[in-house]
Subunit: 212 residues, 2 copies
């Protein structure tokens, strides 16, 4: 059903649809009109219909959308019908927060390894997973399936560690370090730059603009 050439703007909205549809299901709502979804999400109904038309429409006008079907289809487009093995580089507060967040496993993102260089952290368990010495990273990646590396380590070392992992074949990075990773083409990077997020907030405070 999914077609290629979907605009990035639409793709960026899909996770939010997915979240709302998940909430509807949790609340036992299995059918919803674009008007009602529009009201809840505070986007126009025509925007919703237009977005869904990118994927063949999904819906029966009048009847409204079947929430579970819609959620499953959007989930497939987002790649959530697969399991991803995630390793976390850096067992500090942020790495621990990611490891402990149950919501990721529910979506198919399973943490299979946590690494650090701090001897105080190595050997401890986070969310049932023993923190490993980063010196064993190469062996781990060569013997286990690693789909995503989450980088929650200092920016001074992030590019080097990411480069090493990319060479070992890791193809996707979730980067929390406040630096850009210049990785070979074909490697995907999703950045979460918290300091930049905070600066957008201060900009909007100073200019009194509501954010997205």
């Amino acid at each position: 059903m999914a077609e290629k050439k979907i605009s990035m703007a639409v793709v960026k909205r899909l996770p939010r649809y997915y979240r709302y549809l998940s909430e509807l299901l949790e609340n036992g709502i299995d059918r919803i009109s674009s008007q009602e979804l529009s009201r809840r999400m505070q986007v126009t109904a025509s925007q919703i219909r237009q977005d869904f038309n990118n994927f063949g429409g999904f819906g029966q006008q009048g009847y409204g959308y079947n929430v579970e079907f819609l959620r499953t289809e959007i989930g497939k487009i987002l790649g959530l019908d697969q399991t991803y093995h995630v390793i976390i580089l850096g067992a500090g507060n942020l790495g621990q927060a990611l490891a402990n967040y149950g919501g990721f496993a529910k979506r198919g993102f399973v943490v299979s390894g946590i690494f650090d260089v701090d001897t105080e952290k190595i050997g401890k368990e986070i969310a049932g997973i023993r923190v490993l010495d980063r010196s064993g990273l190469k062996d781990f990646v060569e013997t286990q399936k690693v789909d995503i590396a989450a980088l929650t380590l200092p920016k001074a070392v992030a590019p080097e560690v990411a480069g090493e992992l990319a060479q070992l074949g890791v193809r996707a990075f979730w980067n929390f370090a406040a630096t850009d990773l210049n990785l070979p083409s074909g490697v995907v990077v999703e950045n979460v730059h918290l300091a930049e997020s905070l600066m957008r907030l201060s900009y909007n405070i100073v200019n009194r603009l509501p954010c997205e």
Copy 2:
């Protein structure tokens, strides 16, 4: 120097410029051409010149930009010439990560309070700040300056707590809870939806697209 009516696309790029300029200064580089900045940031030099023209240009063509001046000016536009008092709601791993991150204080974001409902956490110190009982939140906000509330608490309670804080006069929220806050107009919200970020990553893995 800052003009209003700058497009959101430009505003979204400013924090990244600020980050690069900060790195240049840290490395003792005090003058840079748009070409060199372009090479480092992997955006076109014409994009850079066009972005900076929104704010009067900043630069001397040929000479290149004065890094410190440019950083200061962009900082002013981003509101980084002010101090913001931040409270953190939720002293879990993510709240701790935010409190412990020294980079925020350096930019003028000072954590002045951390709140939780968990008696195991209340009274403990995080980054030198004692975790307070959330029942004391109203008193705190009424007697202290609070510019930003960072929400690192469960999505089930986030909207209610945010609503309370908005009523008490808090005008800006940094929201990490996986839910939208429907707050009065005039209140600014910057969302960091980690689950949505991870879904964009899986989309890009499945479709083999490099992310932003």
